[in-house]
């Protein structure tokens, strides 16, 4: 078999692949049909073989797997040195990864080593005359631009979570197509040590969420987020916030949606007490359905929304939570 020309890095945390990794794999498989090549999944970690098998079931023709204690925690130096050495030895056409925090670091670092740069945060990929064209947002999505690689170096591309569909899980096509490779940096040479984690279990990640309920200045204070969080929980979604609410200290920064927060693309975005400043719009304008709940009918958020309720969020949200709980049987 010839070497697969498209590589997909499968980002994972403590043995579970990020869902955006599968989106990247699906996008690469789609691309491969236009480039007459195959797709290999890259799985790095400790006891990562199960993820490699999952990748084979999601469409990869092969998996390149590195299982090593030095890779148990993501450390960009260790991961990037490994990826860079594989790229240098095998020269794939492109390395594609989800634009998750870890994979962004990895791709940026490995690309430098390969003498090129990254086309980051792609929301579209297409092949024209054998050339891969990448569409990505700039100025926080206020503009889109199309880019392609120059020269013969491998392309390094990260894909924005939820911009590409998740592939269906199939039967493993090549169950024995897992190749094991060795780590390239010894523990003694790694200067960054991971000493622990402080994570919130069961929290839906904003960038992965299919439903986001966000609160803004209109919620009035930290306790105003109680009904916002409740609706998010009822709908099985994540809670977001505008910059105003974060800057006021009502919720932590990790919830901020917008130009200096996260860019999200859920199926449903419910904006509660958010006026819809241009910086906030930049972070959520690609949501499929936007609902605005606001007292002020003149708020700019209504020009972006598909559905609007002009009213007091402290009345509307609890009533909506009750109604949805009833309808969804939760």
């Amino acid at each position: 078999m010839t070497q697969p020309g498209l590589w997909v890095y499968i980002d994972q945390f403590q043995g579970a692949a990020m869902s955006a990794s599968w989106e990247a794999l699906g996008a690469a498989c789609e691309l491969s049909t236009h480039l007459q090549t195959e797709v290999a999944a890259l799985v790095f970690g400790n006891n990562a073989e199960a993820i490699a098998r999952e990748a084979l079931a999601c469409g990869a023709s092969a998996a390149i797997c590195c299982d090593d204690a030095t890779l148990a925690d993501f450390r960009v130096e260790a991961y990037a040195s490994l990826l860079a050495s594989l790229v240098a030895a095998r020269q794939p056409r492109a390395v594609i990864a989800p634009a998750t925090a870890r994979a962004r670091e990895l791709i940026a670092t490995a690309a430098v080593e390969a003498g090129t740069t990254v086309m980051a945060d792609a929301i579209g990929l297409e092949v024209q005359g054998g050339v891969v064209n990448v569409t990505r947002p700039v100025y926080a999505g206020k503009l889109l631009c199309t880019a392609s690689g120059v020269g013969s170096q491998p392309l390094f591309i990260t894909l924005r979570p939820r911009a590409f569909p998740k592939p269906a899980v199939q039967v493993e096509q090549h169950p024995d197509a897992i190749e094991h490779v060795q780590a390239v940096v010894a523990e003694e040479a790694l200067r960054v040590k991971v000493t622990g984690y402080d994570t919130v279990a069961g929290q839906v990640s904003l960038t992965d969420a299919s439903i986001i309920v966000s609160g803004g200045r209109g919620v009035g204070g930290p306790e105003g987020f109680v009904p916002v969080r409740e609706l998010a929980t009822v709908l099985g979604g994540a809670m977001g916030a505008s910059r105003a609410a974060v800057d006021a200290g009502w919720v932590p920064y990790s919830h901020q949606v917008g130009q200096t927060g996260k860019t999200v693309a859920p199926d449903l975005y419910v904006a509660c007490g958010i006026s819809g400043a241009i910086q906030h719009q930049a972070g959520m304008r690609t949501a499929k359905v936007i609902v605005a709940i606001n007292k002020d009918r003149e708020a700019p958020i209504f020009s972006l929304a598909k559905y609007g309720v002009v009213g007091d969020l402290f009345e509307v949200l609890p009533a909506l939570s009750t109604e949805m709980r009833k309808r969804l049987g939760r």
Binding site: F13, R102, T117, Y139, A147, R327
Partner: protein
Amino acid sequence: MHIVACVKQTPDSAALITVADGRVNWGDAAMVVNPWDEYAIEEAIRLKEKHGGRATALTMGPERARDALKSCIAMGCDGGVLVADAALAGSDARATARVLAAAIQKLGDVDVVIFGKQAIDGDSGIVPLAVARLLGWSPLSYVLQIAALDAGARTIEVARLLEEGRQLCSAQLPVVISVVKDINEPRYPTFAGIRRAGSAQIPIWSLSDLGLDEQQVGAAAATVAWQAVRAPAARAGAVEILAGENLANTVALLADRLQAEKVT
């Protein structure tokens, strides 16, 4: 300790950006210090205040980017360095990283380099990692807290913000850090700071000052070609305002729409 804050001058985040004939126009928007970088500047000043030494602001850009450095000095940085050269036009992230890494090496005694998480124009966040790799220093991205720094033992402990929460790391200096917004509350310039910035001498370094070749930077060395810029499609349709006879009806109307859209 010598701490360097790397900054970029960008159009203000409130800018109404338009595109005509493939050229980007941000109207009369003010040029500002990239908002993410304000947290890097603040953290650099705090480290200097706590551990002694100096904080230097560094940027690459056209001559007007000197104003961004003056803002850094007004906040409390001790000085600034501008790398400007006609050959830099069209530089990609890799070329930018090369220039910044060379400038950091020229500064000579740097212990900590701090970047904002990304720039609000390009939005890619590549440069801090590329600079770390080029210098061979430890990269620590998305830092939301510097928990400890021991200048004597040359160690640093940080918390990084990942999708799942915080990752706690320790590393040896020198390091290249990128910071997220949670890390601090950037200060306003003081009157004394603004006066100092007004009279500050900001050196301009050219490529030859950095020992770099014109072929290594600018459009000549770009590894990505930007073909077309366009505005995203406007969202279709006007808002449907839902208003029933009472709250229960209104909420039921909204719930109907959400279920019909199959988004719940």
